[in-house]
């Protein structure tokens, strides 16, 4: 990995984000609306349900942002023909995608924080946090868990031209399976899917930090969750690295991924 390239891509994504304000809609406004609706539905309730609503909005915001950004990132390069000049440099595609993902992750974090603050300010349903500092740390972990899935998905998006369709299809599953919307026990036979998703463990860690306990079957405490999340993330990143190698080889063979 080439840090200079990662930084360059991070900056590039930042400039693009600021240059094109339409991104505010999917990455900030949409999840915000979603949380407000969820909070209206739950105002008579307290405790874990409220936490779930707020967490749901926050995670949805981070994920939606990640997903759309990873999908669009390649579409954008395809349109501009900007992948090939990178292949002429000593930097790799994955450096570029990683740099962009980190920027997107930061926007996602901003978005999640906004959701939490407005839940408190507008609805007065602030989740009383057992360990606020840890909660914030786990929020960052969740973000990177999502970003690492995003990295892997960005690679898959290169391989398909139907990235818009795939993006839309993938928006909800992570949200449902991560336990951010409702406890994963309610997923029944589908629960195993949750266990291979890094965000499940970080969302659970968020719950532990907020209310002292989570809902995974194996609950060995927060550090256990963090460890598993890291292992899964390492796996996603390795998979992404591998996929990008294949993609670069495919591009060289088919002469594709230029403008269309």
């Amino acid at each position: 990995m080439n840090l200079k390239a990662v930084t360059a891509a991070f900056k590039q994504q930042g400039i693009q984000f600021l240059a094109d304000p339409q991104w505010i809609i999917p990455s900030i406004i949409a999840p915000f609306m979603f949380t407000i609706v969820a909070l209206y539905m739950h105002t008579d309730l307290t405790g874990p349900v409220v936490l779930t609503a707020v967490l749901g909005g926050g995670v949805l915001g981070m994920w939606g942002n990640m997903l759309f950004a990873s999908g669009f990132t390649i579409t954008y390069d395809r349109y501009n023909g900007t992948i090939e000049p990178i292949m002429m440099t000593p930097s790799h595609m994955i450096d570029v995608i990683a740099g962009r993902s980190i920027w997107n992750a930061l926007i996602g974090l901003l978005n999640a924080v906004l959701v939490f603050i407005s839940a408190e300010a507008i609805f007065g349903v602030g989740v009383s946090l057992a360990d606020p500092l840890m909660f914030f740390a786990m929020l960052v972990l969740t973000l990177f868990a999502l970003a690492s899935i995003g990295l892997m998905l960005a690679a898959l998006f290169v391989l398909t031209r139907a990235s818009f369709v795939v993006m839309t299809i993938l928006q909800f599953p992570i949200y449902v399976f991560s336990g951010a919307l409702f406890p994963i026990q309610q997923l029944g036979v589908f629960a195993p899917i949750s266990y291979v998703l890094a965000p499940t463990w970080s969302v659970d860690a968020l719950k532990i930090a907020a209310i002292g306990h989570g809902d995974t079957i194996v609950s060995l405490g927060l550090s256990f969750n963090v460890a598993i999340a890291f292992v899964l993330m390492a796996f996603y990143i390795a998979a992404a690295y591998f996929l990008f190698k294949i993609i670069e080889r495919n591009i060289r063979e088919s002469g594709a991924l230029v403008r269309y």
């Binding site: 930084t7 900007t82 088919s254």
Partner: protein, 286 residues
């Protein structure tokens, strides 16, 4: 003179169809090499293969003594490419695009700004540095792309049809930039189907058709091979015919032997004649 690019027996297939079909080519260090060919002849594919953007199934390529498969990193350091299509980030300004490229090339921070300003000055882009790419005309975009491809100080610069879509003035300005770069020691590999461009710029010319090199030499060598004098006549069948001769005398003799024709022109053979003869009649004709 040493050879900086050596291409031997390269084959690149897309599916069953060979875009480059057994190409042998050598480019000398310090020359401006022109690569001519009709649409779909394999010019872009050749540039992509040499510059490592596309792989190939047979043959070998080396650049500056580095085999591009075994030692792609070193080979890439020596090459800069200006692609046929504009490949700049449209949401960024000219300067931001250049900074991005410089970072991708791992150019140290202390040098980045200096090199960008130097090159921008070199191609005359200074005033446009803070404009968005989208607001520039084609000629300025090409110049911005030129700067991006020169940031890492390549020894060979590939230009794939650099002047397509440019007006006469922009084209001449780009020619001057190419000449200046070459004067400063950069080897130029230029593809084009504008014959006058190749005639104006190039020391040597290769003509490619159907993925094969069909002629190679200086423009005058190629013309002499065909015959240094051309007779162009508009005959009774309403078709312009061309005949080539090794001397004026022969040409005159032939012209006077022509009976009932409307127009006869006797002139020096030019590269366009070679191009048409080689890619048109003699290759695909009987």
């Amino acid at each position: 003179m040493s050879e900086i690019i050596i291409v031997e027996g390269v084959v690149k297939k897309y599916g069953d169809r060979a875009a480059v079909n057994g190409l042998d080519l050598r480019v000398n260090e310090g020359e401006i090499f022109g690569f001519l060919g009709p649409n779909g002849a394999g010019k872009t594919t050749t540039v992509r293969v040499i510059s490592t953007l596309t792989d190939y199934s047979e043959g070998s390529v080396s650049v500056g003594g580095h085999d591009i498969l075994k030692d792609p990193k070193e080979a890439k350091k020596l090459m800069g490419v200006i692609q046929q299509h504009i490949s700049l980030d449209t949401d960024l300004t000219v300067r931001e695009n250049m900074m991005h490229h410089a970072m991708m090339h791992k150019i140290p921070k202390s040098e980045r700004m200096r090199r960008i300003n130097e090159l921008a000055d070199y191609v005359g882009l200074d005033e446009y540095m803070d404009k968005m790419i989208n607001t520039l005309s084609g000629g300025w975009k090409k110049r911005a792309a030129t700067v991006c491809s020169l940031l890492h100080k390549p020894k060979v610069l590939f230009l794939d049809e650099p002047t397509v879509g440019l007006d006469v003035q922009a084209r001449r300005l780009l020619w001057d930039i190419i000449r200046k770069l070459n004067d400063n020691g950069t080897t130029i590999f230029l593809t084009s189907h504008y014959i006058e461009e190749v005639e104006a710029l190039c020391d040597r010319v290769g003509i490619i058709n159907d993925g094969k090199l069909i002629a190679l030499g200086t423009p005058s060598e190629l013309c002499n091979k065909l015959g240094s004098t051309a007779v162009e006549y508009y005959g009774a069948d309403n078709k312009t015919e061309y005949k080539y001769f090794t001397s004026r005398e022969e040409a005159n003799e032939f012209a006077s032997s022509l009976g009932d024709v409307k127009t006869v022109i006797i002139r020096n053979t030019n590269l366009e004649d070679c191009f048409v003869e080689l890619t048109g009649k003699s290759v695909s004709g009987p």
